[in-house]
């Protein structure tokens, strides 16, 4: 009898969880992109718009979620960052335009 209750409870929770995932599917799909996109964009602007030193900019964009790969191509002023299985790049476009995510 107790097992049956437990089964019902777990089923209800599972349905609720799946329902929540379905409702939030768009936001959830985009969620892992945040860290790499944020880091690429704000590092690019720190380094090439505000013209701050590379070390400082690495600290400036640091968040609690770690990034796995980080490439700054100084000649192209282009930054590629990976984290949570996603990868994003930002590039400096010009003296007035600053940086933009690609």
């Amino acid at each position: 009898m107790r097992r049956k209750w437990l089964f019902t409870l777990v089923s209800v929770l599972l349905v609720a969880l799946l329902g929540w995932i379905w409702l939030e599917r768009v936001a959830l799909r985009a969620f892992p992109d945040i860290i790499s996109a944020y880091t690429a964009k704000e590092y690019c602007s720190c380094r090439y718009v505000m013209e701050q030193p590379a070390d400082y900019c690495r600290g400036y964009v640091k968040q609690s979620v770690p990034v796995s790969d980080f490439f700054d191509t100084a000649e192209a002023k282009r930054i590629t960052v990976s984290g949570l299985g996603r990868s994003h790049s930002a590039r400096w476009l010009g003296a007035r335009q600053g940086c933009r995510l690609e």
């Binding site: 939030e24 768009v26 936001a27 959830l28 985009a30 969620f31 992109d33 945040i34 996109a37 944020y38 964009k41 602007s45 720190c46 718009v49 505000m50 013209e51 701050q52 030193p53 400082y56 600290g59 400036y60 003296a95 007035r96 335009q97 600053g98 940086c99 933009r100 995510l101």
Partner: protein, 364 residues
């Protein structure tokens, strides 16, 4: 002899022009006050800086203009007088000031429907430009930054789903209220304005408009304003100026839109910026929204966000402690750039100590 008499009115006119200071290539400087009041201000703004923990108040720049003269300037961390610092949401008030120049050109009216200039808002025919300046679009926007990243509209707009066309992303939000009824702070509203400006000034002028309309007339030589992939300025977040250059915008606003002899922005535009949004209710935000600027007074006289600053104080504010404070009654413009990560910085405290140091206000 008669020729000499003729010159006297000219001389007087010249004296009156001389009496008002304006920046040329550089700011004219005035004497920096000394004494305990300025020390108290510095103790608050520049405590020992911890770059490892990033805790506490972390001022990058503090600059004070009084009567059009630079009377105080100090930098910390990596920021210098030459650094075009990210202003974050100060950009919103800068965008409103750019709009002020277009208003002076009679290119739009505040009650015009936004959809007239930005057709993607066709589903919202009653939304006016004034509603957007009041952050009262009625769109169901979530402004949280770090604390609720999953459902943050602003994070999605800047970095993921909305980044290619930020205004288009905003326009897709459902309404929670008819426009013009309820204040809800929204970076999306600011980017709808940035997109509407494209058709207001025309796509030919738009890419250079912030420079030709505002920055160049003020002598600002090094401003950056990033765009999204659709070419719309990120009016909500991504303007960069040196502290000295941001202070130029402050002086323009302090003097009701006048720059030297030229009324760059109509006085009634600045009056709109400084008029509290009538439907703002206590507790909806720290400061009182005006027309895309923040005020220290509301329609309800009981509301005074910064009790130690004069009631006429109006400000532009940005994430991580960026601030441009304008106090016309004390003829003060204060730029404060920061890198505050924990929210411990208090505008009221800085304003109180600045008033004591520069306006001779007695500290209680």
């Amino acid at each position: 002899m008669s020729k000499g008499w003729f010159l006297i009115p000219l001389l007087i006119l010249n004296l009156s022009v001389q009496a008002e200071d304006w920046p040329g290539e550089q700011w004219p400087s005035g004497p920096t006050p000394s004494g305990p009041a300025i020390e108290a201000l510095e103790q608050y703004a520049f405590p020992p800086r911890d770059d490892a923990s990033r805790e506490g108040i972390r001022t990058d720049a503090l600059l004070v203009i009084q009567d059009g003269r630079l009377v105080y300037e100090r930098y910390a961390g990596q920021t210098t007088a030459e650094t075009p610092h990210l202003t974050w949401s100060i950009s919103k008030s800068l965008m409103a000031t750019v709009f002020g120049v277009a208003y002076g050109e009679k290119l739009f009216g505040l009650q015009d429907p936004v959809a007239q200039y930005y057709p993607a808002l066709g589903k919202h025919p009653d939304m006016t430009l004034a509603d957007l300046f009041h952050w009262a679009s009625g769109l169901d926007w979530q402004e949280d930054y770090e604390y609720a990243p999953l459902n943050s509209s602003v994070v999605a707009m800047l970095y993921t789903r909305g980044r290619r066309d930020m205004a288009g992303f905003t326009a897709q939000h459902e309404s929670f209220s008819p426009p013009g009824q309820v204040f809800r702070y929204s970076s999306g509203d600011s980017n709808l304005l940035a997109a509407a400006l494209k058709n207001i000034v025309g796509p030919q002028r738009y890419p250079d408009y912030p420079w030709t309309a505002l920055f160049e007339p003020l002598g600002i030589r090094h401003a950056i304003w990033e765009t999204d992939a659709s070419g719309t300025f990120v009016g909500s977040s991504y303007a960069y100026l040196t502290a000295r250059d941001l202070a130029r915008v402050g002086l323009l606003m302090q003097r009701d839109g006048r720059w030297g002899e030229r009324q760059l922005i109509p006085r009634d535009w600045v009056a709109f910026n400084r008029e509290p949004f009538a439907r703002f209710q206590v507790g909806q935000d720290e400061a009182v929204p005006g027309g895309h600027w923040w005020l220290n007074r509301a329609a309800d006289p009981a509301i005074r966000p910064w009790p130690d600053a004069p009631a006429d104080t109006f400000v532009a504010l940005g994430h991580w402690g960026q601030a441009l404070y304008i106090i016309p009654s004390a003829r003060l413009v204060i730029v404060r750039y920061g890198d505050d990560r924990d929210g411990s910085y208090r505008h009221n405290e800085l304003l109180k100590r600045s008033m004591a140091a520069f306006a001779g206000a007695v500290q209680p």
